[in-house]
């Protein structure tokens, strides 16, 4: 026979060692990655910590122990039983057909192992689903309300909208009865791309979508929840300390799925109240003539999709988009990212990121894949054929919409 090369022990060890190294590398690298903003092994809030410590880590250890055990057994068997060739070795080993007690034994063994994993799951699952009845005092329109911290999260191709209800609070049952994500009740604050939350409070999220299925995920604060059109699914997040927490849509949602990102900005309660105070106000008429001209341009062109409260919200019906919505720009300049959470609104030195904003207005599809076909419903922002003067005016107008975010937020937004 021409066959019969054997694996040398070194080679066998090298391979099996590779398995172990891969497995250990997974744990180590994931545990140590420091510059990974989406790292799932770096929880930053009580919910994600509990999820990590109960749901993730124990089962990883169990899997690692089983993997090491099976790998050692395999390496041993290869090392112990390999032969070079049968031609010189005609002895047949004992023809063992099986050993029922042994097989029952390891069937039961695996059953018990999985029962342990099941117990872990049943131990951690309730904490994922439990909700607190926490309330927080929020001042809105000059009066104080007991806010049950809730944010309605709405997915759209390809950006996220966040709706805050303080005066007329909504709950899950009410929205489920309503059943339509395209005609949500009017909110006190509507923002997009960045969700602002107070630290130390469990925030209930009511997740839905206006077009296809998306998935909302801030890995540092909790796992993910699909945004299913016209369905309203409960979820929750909580941040322990102020910070900017990154997220990425995780359910394939079409063309620009990869460019559908979001951040959660956790502010301490006082800063959160200040943010509410600012953002619940309508936009103010600009004084700068350039910005005023920009408002003219906006009112003429942008208004077919975008709302600026105080400018066109009284006449606005529906955005000319498949989802029927486009980002509310009333406090555009208050966010540190734009265009679906993908571009920084400000440079590291705090200045407006004018280059990208202008390029975006010049032709959005060059910066982000959009579906723009005449005669069909748009998904994404079309090229508006603006001239350079109009672009400058619009930038001046947009830069004045809302208060500039705090320096640390702008700094944290810079990912590199």
């Amino acid at each position: 026979m021409t066959t019969g090369r054997i694996v040398k022990p070194v080679a066998a060890l090298r391979r099996s060692g590779g398995l172990l190294l891969t497995a250990m590398g997974v744990l180590i690298a994931a545990g140590c990655a420091s510059d990974a903003e989406l790292d799932t092994f770096a929880p930053q809030g009580p919910i994600s910590e509990e999820l990590h410590n109960r749901g993730v880590l124990p089962v990883f250890w169990i899997a690692a122990v089983v993997l090491v055990g099976i790998s050692i057994a395999m390496i041993y068997l290869i090392w112990r039983n390999r032969v070079k060739n049968y031609d010189t070795d005609d002895e047949w080993p004992s023809q063992t057909h099986g050993h029922v007690p042994l097989e029952v034994g390891w069937t039961v063994g695996f059953f018990l192992t999985m029962a342990a994993v099941a117990a872990l799951m049943l131990w951690s699952l309730p904490t994922v689903n439990a909700t607190e009845d926490n309330t927080m005092a929020v001042e809105i329109d000059g009066r104080s309300v007991d806010w049950e911290p809730t944010v309605v999260v709405v997915g759209n191709q390809w950006w996220w909208e966040f709706r805050y209800y303080f005066s007329d609070q909504v709950d899950l049952a009410e929205l489920r009865a309503h059943g339509d994500a395209k005609t949500l009740p009017p909110a006190d604050i509507v923002t997009s791309g960045q969700m602002i939350i107070p630290t130390g409070e469990e925030i209930e999220l009511i997740v839905t979508s206006r077009d296809v299925i998306h998935s909302f995920w801030i890995p540092a604060l909790n796992g993910k929840r699909d945004a299913v059109p016209n369905r309203f699914s409960p979820w929750k997040i909580q941040a322990s300390s102020p910070g900017l927490y990154f997220g990425q849509c995780t359910e394939f949602c079409g063309l620009s799925h990869s460019r559908m990102r979001m951040q959660t900005v956790a502010l301490d309660p006082a800063d959160f109240q200040a943010w509410v105070n600012n953002t619940s106000l309508d936009a103010v008429e600009p004084v700068d003539p350039e910005a005023l001209a920009g408002q003219e341009v906006f009112a003429g062109i942008c208004t077919s999709c975008h709302v600026v409260e105080g400018l066109n919200d009284d006449v606005f019906e529906r955005a000319d988009q498949a989802s029927g919505a486009a980002p509310n720009l009333t406090h555009f300049a208050n966010r540190s990212t734009f265009a679906g959470g993908i571009f920084n609104s400000y440079n590291a030195d705090g200045s407006l990121n004018r280059t990208v904003l202008e390029a975006w207005l010049r032709n959005p599809s060059e910066l982000k894949a959009n579906y723009i076909v005449p005669g069909e419903q748009y998904r994404g922002m079309p090229n508006l054929d603006l001239n350079e003067a109009q672009i400058d005016q619009l930038v001046a107008y947009l830069a004045g919409l809302g208060a500039k975010p705090a320096g640390w937020i702008i700094e944290a937004t810079q990912v590199d």
């Binding site: 066959t3 054997i6 990590h52 749901g55 290869i78 994922v128 369905r231 394939f252």
Partner: protein
Amino acid sequence: MAIVEKQPLELGTADTVSYAEKPLGVFTRPQGGRGWRDWLSTVDHKRIGILYGVSAMFFFLVGGVQALLIRLQLAVPDGSVLSADVYNQVYTMHGVTMVFLFIMPLAAAFANYFIPLQIGARDVAFPRLNALSFWVWLSGAIFLNTSWIVAGGGADCGWFCYAPNSGVAFSPSHGVDFYAIGLQILGLASLVSAVNLIVTCLNMRAPGMTLMRMPIFTWMLLITQFLLLFALPVITVALFLLMFDRVFDAQFFNVDAGADPLLWQHLFWIFGHPEVYIIVLPAFGVVSEVIPTFSRKPLFGYEFMVFSGIAIGFMGWGVWAHHMFVSGMGPISVAAFSLSTMFIAVPTGVKVLNWLATMWGGKIRFTVAMKFAVATVAMFTIGGLSGVTHSVAPANTQQTDTYYIVAHFHYVIFGGGVLGLFAGLYFWWPKIWGHFLSERVGNWHFWLTLVGFNLTFGPMHILGLQGMSRRIDSYARGYGFEFWNLTATIGSFLIAAATALFLWNVFKSRRDAPYLPPPGPDPWDARSLEWSVPSPVPVHNFDTVPQIRSRDDWWHTKYGEDSTGKVVQVATAQEAAQTGEATGVHLPSPSFWPLSVALGLPLIGYGLIFNLWFALIGALVTIGSLYSWALEPVDDPDAAHDDHDDHDDHDDGSNDRAVDNSDSNEATP
């Protein structure tokens, strides 16, 4: 006088005479030959197996090129090799191609070729249906890929094609139409094949071969066929609804019209999860043949292996919603599917330990086939355990739809499925072609594949846990994804190099074959029936249908035990093997109608997409061919009919034999 001499030839029995008058509209039944036309009309399960295998390997290259494009795009941040649109098409078609056009047909190749040989049959139960399933599969495969040309692109909705993104409003290109119709055609092929092979396994086993004596590979394939039989109707219904939605505006999945946005997901995964077992069970079967052969021991715990396979087959139906843990199901549903997912790991773990126990105390010879088989066990173990980690529903909320899942299912499907099928290729190559694949080149192929595989998919575990989402066409700089993505891309090119080596091996071993000693019927000193016939297998498989006295009957023909229980050889393989020289064996006649039926189906597909008149033509072709098929004479009157004694395994006698498990029957020589 000439007339008198001709008479005995022309007039056999009264039956034959009736064929002298052909039914209206029926062509003469083609006869066997060696030309290319014979491959179009063949009903020989071995040739159909080869056709499946060759086509599957072609699509492995297609899917592989798509994989390389994906990896090139993701090698560095903000990749610009592909546009977002093209990337979505490429990753969709990569998945569809690898699942439906590579792994499933490659498993079908093995099933077609080896089920009859392993159970001692001359062919499958319905040879023309067998040809039909191949041609329908091929027509569906070609149809699906023509969307690149005639629709300007492939489907761009992911292989899972979730509604409502799959609707015309969100996926306006025709790619999704090709997906919906193409997969229906492919499903038809698998369904026909499943029925055929189930009947074959249940009814056509050689006398004495009880179900519990059936080779484990055939067992795993039988379970796979049952999974196909029940899973495909579900996806077919879903695809049919999707097709009606897109083509005729039926609104099944249109959320704006009140449709349930999660209905598609349930239908898809009720098919999609058993599909995972459809992919890995055949590979488990291969591994369960290869490891005993090269450990010189019988499979440890045959009964446990059979029943764990059946258990996986059953439990595989109760886990589908673990793909939907974050879709918003209630906690009780989540807990139930999480639990069922965990406990399907029990029979799978039993299999792994039984393979190890087979190696325990054995004498292991590391041929390339054995290396692939052992690597399958090792890699599948990693994939299985990473599966356990995200069966925990809360953990799943962090890991689902990230690269951690991509890593997991590639360790299962590539590590468990593809490596296992490669083990099968090296193992059975001499049986199919009459020469070995080169072990030297094979070694390089194996090590490059293993290293490349781990380099490609190992880092994806880390990427996933670092939060890299699936199905993204690019990622931004600075999220910590750069290093491992580049590593994965390098690994993918190692796999490509390994695959090139495999192709070189195919070519080289064929070129060198005339100068090397032939493998003989049983080169590996193996255990099951296919090794008792010459290599390559003669067209009639068995000169005489063997009488089965025990599990691993062929091994027991060669070896016995002395009084001390020591194994002694009683016959060499050469002595015990059949010669393959029988003549006059009655075999099913070839037919062009299966091909003809299949040709109409893509026309119906194009018709539904572009112009319904095409569909009419296609329907006429298919229905006309079915009609002609039905009227085709069952047997070629000119074929040999002189030996009616040993070919009656297509007749009603087979049922009786299938249940005949008497050990007292004397073996026929």
